[in-house]
């Protein structure tokens, strides 16, 4: 599904990803953990094609194609979805019109015609229920004035609407109360299947109680320095990052 080899990426001549490699196969769930500023969101943005980031070395292939050649919207249409750590507000843009444009753009890419309005409304309702999203939120402008938790939930709702093949969740669990966390996790679990892959960026082991990953990776200073099974997350929860930093020869800042 996704193969990253020796990825180096910088922003404003500042190297942030420093030789990152990762292989995600269809149906797998990968968790990426790491301290603040280690480059997790940068990785997500590079995968989604944000223009501020320059790839200086390495390759990314998605479904056998060179991902770096594609515009952000092409990546999305090919089935790559990013749940943003900080979802953006679009004042005055109705959620319905926004998603309809998105769904139909993706359908057009697949050679399908537009979805008719009745069908679309049905889909919206179905998917909103899927993540227990208050239907009132769908009547509002995209993310405008949403609470932090509502924004995160809305991201999962959008994911369900767009039916991606690879979903990257950037700290979707941060700022959620325990009920919301369960709902988000249930959403992911329901969407989990042998075709669809997830990359879940998180700081907390608690999400991984609900969504059990196949692999856990630790990102440190722009590199994946350790990979393992779900047990690695428990170890981190217990011991923090210092032992990893030590193993990797970094000075520990008190």
């Amino acid at each position: 599904m996704l193969t990253i080899r020796n990825l180096h990426a910088s922003v404003e001549d500042h190297e942030i990803l420093k030789g990152l490699s990762l292989e995600v196969k269809p149906g797998e769930v990968h968790a990426i953990m790491g301290p603040n500023g280690s480059g997790k969101s940068t990785l997500a943005c590079v995968l989604a094609g944000k223009e501020d980031y320059e790839i200086t070395e390495g390759t990314i292939t998605f479904k056998g194609e060179d991902l770096t050649e594609m515009a952000p919207e092409e990546r999305a249409r090919e089935g790559l979805f990013l749940a943003f750590q900080y979802p953006v507000e679009l004042p005055g843009v109705s959620t319905m019109q926004f998603l309809k444009t998105a769904v139909n753009s993706i359908r057009a890419h697949r050679g399908q015609g537009d979805m008719n309005v009745a069908e679309f409304l049905k889909l919206m309702r179905e998917k909103a229920d899927f993540v227990n999203l208050d239907h009132k939120l769908m009547q509002r402008s995209v993310n405008e004035g949403f609470s932090g938790g509502e924004k995160k939930r809305a991201e999962i709702f959008q994911m369900a609407m767009l039916d991606p093949q690879l979903a990257i969740l950037d700290e979707t669990d941060s700022g959620l109360d325990i009920d919301a966390l369960r709902v988000v996790a249930a959403g992911v679990n329901k969407m989990r299947n042998s075709e669809r892959s997830f990359v879940i960026i998180t700081h907390y082991q608690r999400l991984l109680n609900f969504v059990v990953p196949d692999f856990v990776h630790i990102l440190l200073d722009g590199r994946i320095v350790k990979s393992g099974g779900p047990e690695l997350a428990f170890e981190l929860e217990d011991k923090g990052y210092d032992w990893i930093k030590e193993e990797n020869g970094e000075a520990i800042v008190a």
């Binding site: 223009e51 999305a76 679009l90 926004f98």
Partner: protein
Amino acid sequence: MPTYTEHDFFEDVAEEGYKYGFVTDVAYEKAPKGLSEDTVRYISAQKSEPDWLLENRLKAYHQFMKMLEEGGLPSWAHLRMPEIDFQDAYYFAAPGKKAKYDSIDDVPQEILDDFARLGIPLGEQAALAGVAVDAVMDSVSIATTFKEELEKHGVIFCSFSDAVENHPDLVQKYMGSVVPYTDNLFAALNSAVFSDGSFCYIPPGVRCPMELSTYFRINEANTGQFERTLLICDEGGYVSYMEGCTAPMRDENQLHAAIVEIIAHKDAEVKYSTVQNWYPGNAEGVGGIFNFVTKRGLCEGARSKITWTQLETGSAITWKYPSCILKGDYSVGEFYSVAFTKDYQQADTGTKMIHLGKNTRSTIISKGISAGHSDNSYRGLVRVNKKATGARNFSQCDSLLIGDQCGAHTFPYIEIHNSTAKVEHEATTSKIGEDQMFYCRQRGISEQDALNLIVNGYAKEILAQLPMEFAVEAQKLLSVQLEGSVG
């Protein structure tokens, strides 16, 4: 328009560029080129006008010549004002060689066909449901639909020429009472050479049963359009009026200098909406309409209300300030505006709210959107006179920038002569966020669609003020104009 879906919307928008740029091939009767007393007399004679009107025109003509000599074009606006050779244009052009059409049967088929092509069918069967239209091409009103239907309610809606002929008392009483010919250079010019336009009178207590609208079309080359609109709403009446306009694509500039006057008597309410889509010139800034317009409403009676709503997307230069004189106590003035400029377009637009009566209120919401190399200014005056106890104003002026080559400016003027006045002014300037664009694109939405969504979202509050029949049109138009503004 319930059957119109968002899908249709984006389909329509996908059609490229300025799609109203065609020319109707029809013979013309024109005034001799240039501006002189003879030109003025020629126009008046073409319309078989009464003497008093010719007198007025001549006074205005001399005023114009004097103002042109003394001051020239107004220089205070934030505009690169062009040289205009007032002798190098035609001031009257009658399509189909007729200065007046008494029946739609006399109108050449080409003209009817092309109005239909503009989305303005004029035949009785085909006419737009619920909207009465006066269609003006160059100097002549072609046809007015639903006239009889409106007459049943006592509403007069006809071309200005018709009104001069059939309702001379009303015309003489009100014409020039809100915008005198001495007001400014272009008002003087219009008062001298105005040709057709619309006239509307709503009798006391009557709620006009349908939307009224005028569609202005400039067709002939080298010709200016100088229409005049006079709208009178008598005590307790209500009317919603809408104007639209387009012109062919041409390399030379064409002049449009209109006057709109509104009078609202006691308890009357007038909504005046404009969708301005004159040809803006090409991407290099060649050609386009110079749009110099004087629009003013008088809230004459107590509790009267005038609302100006405008979507300005066209013209090479726009210079217009639809204003309200709040004379009646408790009268209300509102101004809602979206002005979009791209390429080398320039707009200097805004409003004046003049508070004269007690407890008068005004609201100004202006949203400027600039792209390309364009320049977009808001200029607004709020004046509270001595006797206007309890006056209030709220102004909000937002600017949105697309790219970094364009300019946005805000020039608010506030003059307060009564200490009880409450005046609030807010202004913001923002750039279309990279983050917003990226968010949309990450959902599979193209850059162009993303821009459409974001800009239409920004303008939504204003577009929602337009009559329902036109709101979709307006949204579409804004999206068409946005084509090619990405990046």
